[in-house]
Amino acid sequence: MQTVFSIAVDALAYGMVLFVISIGLSVTMGLMRVVNLAHGGFAMIGGYIASYVARDLGLGYALAIIAAVVFTILIAIPIERLLYRRIYGQPELTQVLMTIGITFCIIGIANFTMGPTLKTIPLAPALQGSADIGFRTIPIHRLFAIVCGLAVALGLWYAIEKTNFGIKLRASVDNAAMAAALGVRTEIVYAVSFAVAVGLAALGGVVGAEFLPVEPYYALRYMVTFLVVVSVGGAGSIPGALAACLLLGAIDTTGRYLMPEFGEFFFYLAVIAVICIFPRGLAGRAK
């Protein structure tokens, strides 16, 4: 029973971390139709920055998160302007190549500047230890990850459904040409969405460092995990991404607990099964 409970908590927390990282990817893919394989790279950059701020500079966890989000966005802006701009609307293969190129560069540079070792991000004292919720105890960090995920989901839902920007965003997702004709400045919508997506990736990279440890091959190792969330959830769908994250988090965590030897094997098998059953994603619209 204890095992079932810890699996459930870990799965939920892990799923939420996946959600925080992947939702930005999902929105930008739905919006700009860019197959962005480098998204995990930005989460990794966030993790490195947080590790540097919290561990090397000793400035604390809260500041580390803020610094990670801000600096990752600052790093991403020139990359978006110089490289991503060129591949909007290009064939899929071109986008794959460009973003793999970016991923390789990020890995190579991270490996060179930060070294090949694992980087830890010391947690704030308040997030260490366990919380007693009456009949069980839960590691506080897990709770924190779950709260972060819920906050991001709610925040995005509010921003997309209830704000002016959200209306413009949805219009651009639905029909960019029409939105532009109606006076929506789509390039600004794109730039803001890209920045938000990268910022969320960085946030997820920091919060999720307990699950997805920060090291140079992070960007490649979890690339498929993030992409799977989007293709299973359906690009641009928040409920779809949430469902996909919880499902994949559950499969992955359960696999690790019960069959640590074959965990990854069953994870990829599950991925293949889910995509084969829902080739257009869980929330995919039938054409």
Binding site: L97, I100, G101, T103, V224, I272, I275, C276
Partner: protein, 345 residues
């Protein structure tokens, strides 16, 4: 009069047909000759580095196989190494576990295993399109990788498969320490594959596949099933990749887990795009340049290898989207057109 005209026209058409045929054969021969010359040059210039050259030959087969599905059919995949690695392990396991030590039989085993892997992968991958298809290809190569990792009693797991022994080729040529036999075997395998694939890509089936890349709806309206054709092409592609894998197993006498990796798949795609998709020459050119570049950079500074590949990839996308061969070809066509124009004036 009209009968005369008809005869004339028939003769005219026959002449045109003959010209076309001569053109094809000429290009085949040029390609064949170029491979032979480059292979001979490699042998003369780098006699101490035949292992690298043989590795280039094996990877060239992988890249050609990728060209068949990506370049000719338009299916983007990041999992082609699954087919290559299957061929390598099949050939290796035949020798290490079953005592089948004839290099030709081992290669045949690799080809068959590659074809079966191609069949499996195509059945899975063709269920989806676009991004989900790409993700499937990545998941597949990871699945193959994990499988080989866990089945360590067969594959040696992360230590790699060793214990591969070989009979002399045709019972005569020993696989020597310097890799002479392996190199010539590889060159022969590549030449044979090249000629067969040249015939394939301009066969009716090859043309059908090019049609699928451009417009599957149109192909259906011709009464052909794109799905069936793609599965068939995947099996052929698997056989080619499997031959490459088998060559690598035979020449190095070990099979590393890396041969089934995502990175190997991605690198093959980089080589193909560097050379130019949709042409066999492009795939070969890309492989040679990339592998020599890799050898050079990783000798100079292995730390920067991945950064260099990334930068190279970005540069190709930005400045030579048709790849080196494609860019050269269109430059040549432009020059020829200008030349023709001047000649007419």
């Amino acid at each position: 009069m009209s009968a005369d005209l008809k005869v004339n026209k028939a003769a005219d058409n026959a002449a045109k047909t003959e010209r076309l045929r001569a053109g094809f054969i000429q290009r085949d021969l040029i390609g064949f000759a170029v491979i032979v010359i480059v292979a001979a040059l490699g042998y003369v210039l780098f006699p101490d580095n035949l292992a690298l050259l043989t590795r280039i030959l094996a990877i060239a087969l992988l890249v050609l196989s990728l060209d068949l599905v990506t370049g000719y059919c338009g299916v983007a995949t990041l999992g082609q190494a699954a087919l290559y690695g299957s061929g390598a392990y099949a050939a290796g396991i035949l020798s290490a576990h079953y005592g089948v030590t004839d290099p030709l039989v081992m290669t045949l085993g690799g080809i068959l295993a590659g074809a079966v892997a191609g069949l499996l992968c195509s059945i899975v991958m063709l269920r989806a399109h676009g991004l989900p298809q790409l993700v499937l290809s990545i998941a597949l190569v990871y699945l193959f990788h994990e499988f080989a990792n866990k089945a360590s009693s067969w594959t040696g797991g992360s230590d790699g498969l060793s214990g591969i022994t070989l009979d002399p080729l045709f019972g005569i040529f020993e696989f020597d320490l310097f890799g002479h036999t392996a190199y010539f075997f590889g060159v022969a395998l590549l030449l044979l594959t090249f000629i067969l694939l040249r015939a394939l890509v301009r066969s009716p089936f090859g043309m059908l596949c090019r049609g699928i890349k451009e417009d599957p709806v149109r192909v259906r309206a011709l009464g052909a099933s794109p799905h069936r054709a793609l599965v068939k092409m995947y099996v052929i592609s698997g056989a080619v990749a499997g031959a490459g894998g088998a060559l690598s197993a035979v020449s190095t006498q070990v099979v590393a887990l890396d041969s089934l990796s995502f990175t190997q798949s991605a690198e093959a795609l980089v080589m193909l795009v560097l050379g130019g998709t949709g042409s066999l020459f492009g795939g070969l050119l890309g492989t040679v340049i990339f592998m020599l570049f890799e050898d050079f950079v990783s000798a100079a500074n292995p730390f920067h290898w991945l950064t260099m590949v990334g930068a190279l990839l970005i540069a190709v996308v930005l400045f030579a989207p048709k790849g080196l061969y494609g860019t050269m070809e269109s430059a040549y066509a432009r020059i020829r057109k200008r030349h023709d124009g001047e000649a007419r004036e």
